[in-house]
């Protein structure tokens, strides 16, 4: 993924030839690589999707990092730190993938901090109890895995490769969350209640992570035609509901949705209505924690400025010292 976006193309002939090769590659379900010609809309759409995905990983560190000091044992602290470190790693893999499309990482960071870029609405909900950490691992990471496994086959090579790496690491995230809930579910009545309460609050937001219903998701069709997205939002949501409807039984707890059922006629899992007005509000920046998450991200970036400057100054000094010696040799 070394090469920056190619600049050597241009002109009607090259565009036509490029479009033809691009269409052939998509038709045979092959991969597009950074230096290939690609339609501007494909480049733009992927840049948006991958950078938003990266921002989600970075912002997603906050709600969990807040719980490291309060995790109930040294083991749980170590696990949570490993998970938060993974999220940082996922963000960096994705920024790298997005960069191959021509937008520098610093620019994406600037956009996030300036409030111009989006991240997943799920991270704007508060994490109230230790059980929430369990519910986030099980439901939020579970939904993310459902979304991300098909993205391993996304037509853009660097995105698919980043997703393969991420998916390998995510399964630990989901299992550790489920285990937290399982331990609480086998604990005292107060612990069981806490686990159920966390599931009650995280269920609907995690279902909304798959994005708006298919008839209200205008870009999905194009994204599927480009082999970026392999399944529709509703299709993935339905699969996810089917999985958690079974898994919740192992916890001896319930989903807060009496309408969850398997429809024999369609062969699909169904769920009750979701509050898409709330979803829009949270996205528009009016969720419970939007301001807090953005402020924290901005602070972290500004507080780290001296470190970035110092590292750059040190690198410069080392390079200057090394230069005359090299010339003499």
């Amino acid at each position: 993924m070394a090469a920056p976006a190619a600049t050597q193309y241009g002109g009607p002939d090259i565009d036509a030839a490029g479009q033809q090769l691009f269409d052939e590659l998509i038709a045979e379900d092959s991969r597009i690589e950074p230096r290939d010609w690609m339609p501007e809309a494909y480049r733009k759409s992927l840049t948006r999707q991958i950078s938003q995905h990266a921002h989600s990983e970075i912002i997603g560190m906050q709600p969990e990092a807040n719980w490291i000091t309060r995790a109930p044992s040294l083991k749980r602290k170590a696990i949570l730190m490993a998970k938060v470190q993974d999220e940082a790693g996922h963000g960096l893999y994705l920024y790298s993938a997005a960069e191959t499309l021509g937008t520098p990482r610093d620019k994406m960071t600037e956009d996030l901090i300036a409030g111009k870029a989006r991240y997943s609405s799920i991270f704007n909900y508060p994490v109230l109890t230790w059980a929430d950490i369990g519910a986030i691992g099980w439901l939020v990471d579970g939904a993310a895995i459902c979304n991300q496994v098909p993205l391993c086959r996304a037509s853009y090579g660097p995105y698919g490769r980043a997703m393969v790496r991420i998916c390998k690491e995510e399964s630990f995230h989901q299992r550790q969350g489920f285990e937290i809930l399982l331990e609480l579910a086998n604990g005292t009545q107060a612990q069981r209640d806490m686990a159920q309460d966390a599931i009650n609050r995280w269920y609907a937001p995690s279902l909304m992570m798959f994005g708006p219903p298919d008839d209200d998701s205008p870009n999905s069709k194009q994204s599927m035609a480009w082999n970026i997205k392999r399944f529709s939002n509703d299709e993935l949501r339905s699969r996810f509901v089917g999985m958690i409807a079974e898994q919740v039984k192992a916890l001896g707890l319930t989903l807060p949705d009496p309408d969850v059922r398997f429809n024999e006629d369609t062969g699909k899992w169904e769920h009750g209505p979701l509050d898409w007005e709330e979803f829009k509000e949270v996205l528009a920046g009016r969720g419970p924690c939007n301001a807090q998450r953005m402020e924290r991200r901005r602070e972290a970036h500004e507080d780290g400025a001296w470190v970035r400057e110092a590292a750059a100054a040190y690198a410069d000094k080392q390079a200057r010292r090394a230069a005359p010696a090299t010339e003499a040799a």
Binding site: I50, Q52, Q85, Y93, E99
Partner: protein, 115 residues
Amino acid sequence: MTGGSTTGDDGSTAPAPGPAEKRQPWPLWEVFVRSSRGLSHVHAGSLHAPDADMALRNARDLYTRRNEGVSLWVVPSSAIITSDPSAKEQFFESPQGKDYRHATYYTKSEGVKHL
């Protein structure tokens, strides 16, 4: 309706251009990991770092959190020379009519053992 999926695939438009970068961006490095002795270093991904030493340390933290490697290479991305993908036909020789470069081309000796 816009926004909301973890994957950013939510129907919103690309972000508008932001203010110009003040600090010189850290250079990009390509990371290669040898997963165990006896195997080649394989490209794992890339990262930004101010110098080679930091690039190695960052590569360790980013690409070997689960014992994925016993050795790392970091290479400035700018040092990598690539072939031109649009010149595919001219650069890579056509394999057409060159079946004789493969063992499967030689069928007359079929049935002869250890050949």
